[in-house]
Structure formats: structure tokens, C-alpha cells
Amino acid sequence: MGVLPYLVAGWVFLTGCYGLATSRNLIHAVGCLSVCQAGTYVLLLAVGYRHDATAPVFSDLKPGSRPVVDPLVQALTLTDVVVGATVTALLLALVVQISKRHGTVDPDELSELRG
């Protein structure tokens, strides 16, 4: 159990990279990039976890009564989710324009920039 979360994070990151490199459809590639990013969420939150601890949100909990997990990594991951959503939107906008101008979204058939 000790190292499983970190290995799952690495596995998700590398699977996303594999999908991104071997994709035959640019929308599928953008999906694989967001899978890559899910790997970073898992690693960050796994780093901040503490056994038998709860979330440091004291609306329904007396401060100091129970151990709490690390709030820092949660703030970092929150920023990362926002970045993920925006980069996905921008990439999809580019893919829509590529399909309009190239007539295809298969990277193998995009032949404009070579050499």
C-alpha cells in the first residue's frame, strides 16, 4: 500500500503519454493529454495524505480535534484542475479549426509543416 498511489500516478501519466504519441485522431489526443494531467492530480494528492486524518475544512469540525491532511497540495491540485480545463478548451478550439482548414483530424494526414 505504501507505494501503490505513486505507481498509479506514474502509470496514468505514462499511459496518457503513450496515447498522445500513438493517437490517430486529434480529439483523442487532447483526451489523452487530460489523462496525462490526471496523473499529476493523483501524485499531488497522494503526497499530501495522512493516515486517519480528515479534510482541513472546519465548518463542521472543531479545529484541533482530529488530525488533518495537507491543505497545500489540495490548493495546488485545484489550480491544476482549472489549468486542465482551460488548456483542453483551447486545444479543442485549435482542433476544430484544423478540421475546418485541413478537412481531417488525423495527424498522419496533416502534411503542411515539414522539413
Binding site: 505514462l14 495522512r50 472546519f58 465548518s59 491532511v69 491543505p71 484542475v81 483551447l90 478550439a93
Partner: protein
């Protein structure tokens, strides 16, 4: 480069990275350990400023400069999508046809819309108390608006949602966040410092000094940004057509 050569490259690169990452994972402190010095300091700092949700305190008080950057990224993406998905000279707009929707689905959509909107606003308002915050509530509120599109059709949504207003709202909310930061600087302490307002009593809506203000600014900015983003994509998918037809 042939597909086989690329697969071979991915195999070599992936294997190298996998080995490297596994070795690093073995050196990481055990999962669920107790050594979180920065986290403990953050909890203490958040409680000292009467902010119940420590993550909101980290986001809008201790590391508010990060959140300024995160909000700017969303703002830049909205302008970027506006520029990338604009209607070019060789395109025209076709009016979307009305779409008949089954009765229970329409009723469900029109019923859930206000509930989702209220939940979004509730999540923004209680950002610095219970789980949630400006970002989460903004997205829920913006998504609820699009129930009009899902439950009825795009024309119904367009009547309710003037995109120019939301884009201006996005810009105003972004400048509100920056102006709050500047006010703290002019008020003698540092940029984005939480020293302007009293911290109020713990676990109440007005606790946490400027955290609720920044939270509301981010909530409004995210809601407007998501509406404008979806508006750009919906226009492209539903309205903008090729060629210079009528």
C-alpha cells in the same frame, strides 16, 4: 517518421521514464506519513485569520498570487478561444432549428435549472466555510444555464445569454480581483494582503477578511468565463456554417 520508429521511440522513452519514476517512488516518504510541515503552518495561519476552509485560505490569502495567475490563465483562454473560434470572412451564421424534446426531459431541465443555479451560488457564498469556493460554484452555476440548451434548444439559450455581457463581466471580475489586491498595497501592506477588512467571527459568512471578496470575484469570473467558452463552442457547432450562403 514511420509509425514503427515512433512506437520504438515511445517504448524507449516510456521505459526509461517508468524506471526513473519507480525508483523515485521507492525513495518517497511512505504514503500517509505525518511529516507535513507546510500544511500544519498553513492550517495555523488560516485559523489565525478566522477562515474555516483552510484550502480557501491558502488559495485566496496565503498564496493569492497563485490564484491571480490561475484566474489570468482562464481569462487568457477565454480571449484565446474568442479569437480562435471567431467567424471568419468565408463563413455565415445559420439560424438553429428548434428541437423537440420529450416532455419529461424538458420539465426536468427547467426544474433543475434554478436548483443548480442556487446550488452554484450557495457553493460560492460558503466558499470559505464548507468545501467549495469561487471556482467550483462558478462552474456549477454556468453549467446550470446550459440546461436551457439541453432541455430546450439553442435559441432559447441565446435569448437568455448575451455573450458580450458575460465577456464584459469576465473582464470586470478579473479587474475586481486585481483592484482588491492593489487596495491592499495602497492600504500600506503588500499586494493581495489580507489586512484590509476585519477577520470577523469564525465560521460565519463574513469571516476571513478579503477572502470572501476574492472568492466572489473568482466565482463571477469563472461563471462568465465558462458561459463565454461554451458560447464559442456552441456557435461553432450549431450556427457557423461553411461558405457564404444566405
Amino acid at each position: 517518421m514511420s509509425r514503427r520508429f515512433r512506437l520504438w521511440l515511445v517504448a524507449v522513452g516510456g521505459a526509461g521514464l517508468a524506471a526513473l519514476f519507480t525508483a523515485a517512488a521507492l525513495d518517497l516518504p511512505a504514503f500517509g506519513g505525518d511529516h507535513h510541515p507546510y500544511g500544519d503552518r498553513a492550517v495555523h495561519a488560516s485559523l489565525s485569520r478566522h477562515t474555516a476552509n483552510v484550502i480557501a485560505s491558502v488559495n485566496f490569502d496565503q498564496r493569492a498570487f497563485d490564484t491571480l495567475g490561475e484566474m489570468t490563465i482562464l481569462f487568457a483562454a477565454v480571449i484565446g478561444c474568442g479569437a480562435l473560434l471567431r467567424q471568419t470572412r468565408d463563413e455565415h451564421r445559420a439560424t438553429p432549428e428548434p428541437q423537440e424534446v420529450a416532455r419529461p426531459v424538458r420539465r426536468y431541465a427547467l426544474l433543475v435549472l434554478p436548483v443548480a443555479l442556487l446550488t452554484g451560488l450557495y457553493v460560492i457564498a460558503h466558499g470559505q466555510l464548507s468545501p467549495g469556493g469561487g471556482f467550483q460554484g462558478g462552474v456549477v452555476a454556468a453549467t446550470s444555464l446550459h440546461l436551457l440548451y439541453l432541455g430546450a434548444d439553442y435559441r432559447a439559450l441565446e435569448r437568455v445569454r448575451p455573450v458580450a455581457l458575460y465577456e464584459t463581466g469576465d473582464a470586470v471580475a478579473t479587474s475586481a480581483y486585481v483592484v482588491t489586491g492593489l487596495a491592499a498595497l495602497i492600504g500600506g501592506s503588500a499586494f493581495l494582503a489580507n489586512t484590509l477588512l476585519p477577520y470577523g467571527t469564525f465560521n460565519t459568512l463574513s469571516s476571513g477578511g478579503t477572502v470572501p471578496l476574492l472568492n466572489a470575484a473568482v466565482g463571477m469570473e469563472v461563471a462568465c468565463a465558462v458561459v463565454v467558452l461554451l458560447a464559442r463552442f456552441l456557435d461553432q457547432a450549431v450556427e457557423i456554417e461553411e461558405g457564404n450562403g444566405t
